[in-house]
Point group: C2
Chain length 305, copies 2
């Protein structure tokens, strides 16, 4: 099933308690694309980069099944750049640099063969870009999933409200869900956000797992206890990529299948944080993913008698 992914393809410089990496490949669309590539092929990528991106890196994305026709390359431009440093206990991070570069003028134009996509992942970007992508689709897609963050909640609340009305699933972290809804209790926050548009609310809690809300139903998936956490950058995007990739593959939007999608997204996120950049998530096997999904199963399943 055709999956379209909008987001950033970028460079990151990251410092964590485990090391420091300069100018490694990052960006929401990049993480989403790799994570979804284990479930679907011909993923239609929409982004913008400068000419500072190596051909090798782009080829590697194509080899994994990403279609890059929708990635605009700006001659002489520089790709989006983010630098950050994680605290010693990984409980927070400081952003050191945010250089929008070519992203500042991003106005995506979808290639013709992108316009019939049925599964749409709107990675974290300005809401007006997310809206513009939806406007260019020929038909109503089967599923639109959106990721957002505090910056858009605070700075472009009206545009965010507009795009929320047009989506099916929102992924958002717990503090941002509280900010968007004005409710501290997450079940209440989810109910209020549901009234803004999306049927499904996924609340991400980092090392404390993720929650799926749908009407009066709730499902919870923990994060795995990893022996080694190297770099959390991209975990939320890998979660989203695994989630929508699994849904696009199985084409089943029941709550039971959404649970499996959450588990697959959590599995991809767990691989992501075990190394810097895309180093781990670009080299996985389907067997490794299945084994990790089984770890979630063993961690959480019990019988009542």
């Amino acid at each position: 099933m055709s999956l379209l992914v909008v987001g950033t393809v970028a460079f990151d410089s990251v410092e964590t308690p485990y090391g420091k990496e300069e100018m490694v490949v990052g960006g929401s669309a990049m993480y989403i694309g790799y994570s979804a590539s284990y479930f679907v092929q011909d993923i239609k990528m929409v982004s913008i980069i400068g000419d500072d991106f190596s051909e090798g890196e782009l080829n590697s994305m194509e080899d994994k099944g990403m279609n890059l026709d929708g990635i605009e390359k700006v001659k002489g431009g520089k790709s989006f750049f983010w630098a950050g440093k994680y605290h010693d206990d990984f409980n927070g991070r400081d952003t050191l640099v945010t250089d929008l570069n070519v992203l500042a003028d991003f106005d995506p134009v979808l290639p013709q063969h992108y316009k019939d996509s049925k599964y749409i992942m709107l990675g974290n970007l300005t809401p007006d870009i997310q809206i513009s992508v939806l406007d260019q689709l020929n038909d109503k897609p089967d599923l639109v999933m959106l990721d957002t963050m505090n910056f858009w909640i605070n700075n472009t609340p009206d545009d965010l409200r507009k795009v929320l009305k047009r989506i099916d699933i929102l992924t958002i972290n717990d503090e941002e869900a509280r900010m968007l809804s004005g409710e501290h209790a997450l079940a209440r926050a989810a109910a209020k956000i549901q009234a803004m548009g999306p049927y499904y609310i996924v609340i991400k809690r980092g090392e404390h797992g993720a929650l799926l809300f749908y009407n009066d139903k709730t499902f919870f998936a923990p994060a795995l206890l990893l022996q080694t956490l190297i770099d959390p950058t991209g975990a939320g995007d890998c979660f989203a990529g695994g989630f929508i990739g699994y849904l696009a593959k199985t084409q089943n939007l029941s709550f039971e299948n959404m649970k499996r999608a959450i588990i697959h997204g959590s599995a991809l996120a767990s691989f992501c944080v075990e190394d810097f950049s895309n180093w781990n998530i670009k080299r996985l096997s389907l067997d490794q993913i299945d084994q990790r999904v089984n770890r979630f199963y063993d961690l959480t399943q019990f019988s009542l008698v």
Copy 2:
């Protein structure tokens, strides 16, 4: 199956964002006893109180199946008293008063009919009192569970190490597990603590649930998303009481049954925090508990296909 509970029976003054209650009944043994009372009867309570405790409150404990022969009443003495105030987001609390009172000279003497108890719950107290109780038992019990906290880790580390060698299950919160083991990753922390004595390690994470470790096996139970959190005081003790009560009732120490015990403990904890003091956990029905256990089941269970 005979359950013996050691801990405090006390008064608390508690302030939370939802209100303030002065001199309400508290104490680890009190919370453990009520929670276990839904699974076993004739619970042998070991504690110390002053004569400031109302007969009504003691009768209520007896009515629930607690045997109070092991509760020493000190004439003219005052019961242990704790006062605390929770932060606005419940993410922390400040202790305002700790008056040991009669607890300062607590040297428990077990009644004869307590000494053949097979399930032993050593609530949070000085490790030397916990050791003294174990020394007075006639035979090796079937199961010894111990709860401790940062104060004993820091102030009586040698005594704590001694008692850890004699127990089967340790319940401890995540920060304290890190403190005791010197390891940040919880799986590593559990492995190190296991080497100190207990076969099973239960790491409590408050609103983020609880983890059970046994050799290379791990089980995770989330906390429920409650609409209203009134007062977290006693939640860890109610968890422990539900846990060991369920084990004493079922007399099955397999890992699969330990999972069910964790879920029942979590259910009791979830009731505890919905009101101040013991107000909620003293008035439950078995049906209510079953319904809540089913909520945990619905929240976490999924099928792989």
